[in-house]
């Protein structure tokens, strides 16, 4: 199962995945992540780690989905992940912009009203 030709790349990627898992674990300890996101995120990277050291099964999985190579499957999944994350971030940013606008507007109008009532 271990192919020496792939081993350096597998070790390099494996270390990166372990670092991601460690960062995720630290964020959980700091209460920065929701439970559902934690399960999804940890599950995704543990699955990636298993496939990384079991390349034939990655190729099998890819071909069962009609994709030629395992690496193509990884690229497609990564693209889906990137776009869905980007979409979520844009929606979140848009909602935050709306909230900030409301707050700034309320403060601005209230201040004007307070100033005008003080003048009177």
């Amino acid at each position: 199962m271990i192919n020496l030709y792939h081993l350096p790349a597998q070790l390099f990627m494996g270390i990166i995945i372990l670092l991601i898992l460690y960062r995720t674990y630290s964020s959980v300890k700091a209460n920065k992540l929701s439970r559902s996101f934690l399960i999804f995120w940890m599950g995704f990277w543990i699955f990636a780690l298993i496939l990384l050291f079991n390349l034939p099964s990655l190729s099998k999985l890819a071909s069962s989905l009609g994709i030629g190579r395992g690496v193509d499957l990884v690229i497609y999944l990564s693209l889906i992940m990137i776009f869905s994350t980007l979409f979520k971030l844009i929606v979140k940013q848009k909602n935050q912009d709306k909230i900030i606008t409301k707050i700034i507007r309320k403060i601005a109008i209230d201040e004007t009203m307070i100033k005008s009532s003080t003048k009177k």
Binding site: I90, K98, I100, T101, I104, R105, A108, T112, M113
Partner: protein, 225 residues
């Protein structure tokens, strides 16, 4: 001019210290109240507008022209009563003397909104590229709103007070101009275009032409996200 109609002007201003005094001074004698929404300017726009006689509402951070106009509208909706609300630009490109005619048009034509058009009126010293960008804007707005105007990004507009509840701007930046046209269409408000003069000053050419790409992006984002 107004048969005792109460007119309120809303101006969104950002770093307009060079022109704001002149703009407010021209308006203050022909309307009842001038509201300047200072969008967190770094210069003395706010103080100068106040000195010239305007009611100033100050944003603590810069939000964009659309957000500033909506702040002015919300202030008018909640705290003032009037017959007409006019939007006007702070960069001295419009001629205040054209406002009485626009307001007469609003009541004589029995419409809800009058929209200024530089292409029906005059555009003095307008750069060619700006003209092209504005013409493209007409078609983009037509595509999204179903309303074809001769000038969609003109900040000189007059609304009957009652219609203001239907014009709630959510676009913070420059795409608000297209959004206003869309809201007019969606709420089935009646409108008419009115010829106005827009003077382009050599040192001040308004928003950059590249900003039009941001406007299209904002419109698309609003549609799909």
């Amino acid at each position: 001019m107004s048969k005792k109609r109460k007119i309120v002007v809303v101006i969104a201003a950002y770093n307009e210290s060079k022109t704001i005094t002149s703009v407010v001074s021209q308006l203050i004698n022909i309307v009842d109240q001038v509201i300047v929404v200072d969008d967190a300017s770094c210069d003395k726009t706010s103080n100068l507008a106040k000195k010239a006689g305007a009611t100033v509402i100050s944003h603590s951070i810069n939000l964009g022209q659309g957000a500033a106009l909506e702040t002015g509208f919300e202030f008018v909706r909640n705290y003032l009563t009037c017959d007409v609300v006019v939007t006007f630009d702070a960069d001295n490109q419009f001629d205040a003397k054209e406002m009485p005619g626009m307001i007469e048009c609003l009541f004589n034509s029995k419409v809800d909104v009058v929209l200024g058009s530089r292409f029906l009126g005059r555009a003095l010293n307008m750069p060619l590229l700006r003209k092209v960008v504005l013409k493209i804007g007409i078609y983009v707005t037509w595509f999204f709103s179903g309303i074809k105007l001769t000038d969609t990004h003109n900040g000189f507009r007059a609304f009957k007070f009652d219609t203001l509840s239907k014009i709630v701007i959510s676009q913070n930046r420059m795409a608000h101009a297209s959004e206003i046209i869309e809201l007019i269409g969606r709420n089935k408000l009646t409108f008419k275009e009115y010829p106005v003069t827009v003077k382009y000053h050599n040192d001040r050419r308004g928003q950059s032409n590249l900003n039009s790409l941001n406007i299209i992006r904002d419109i698309l984002m609003d549609k799909f996200i």
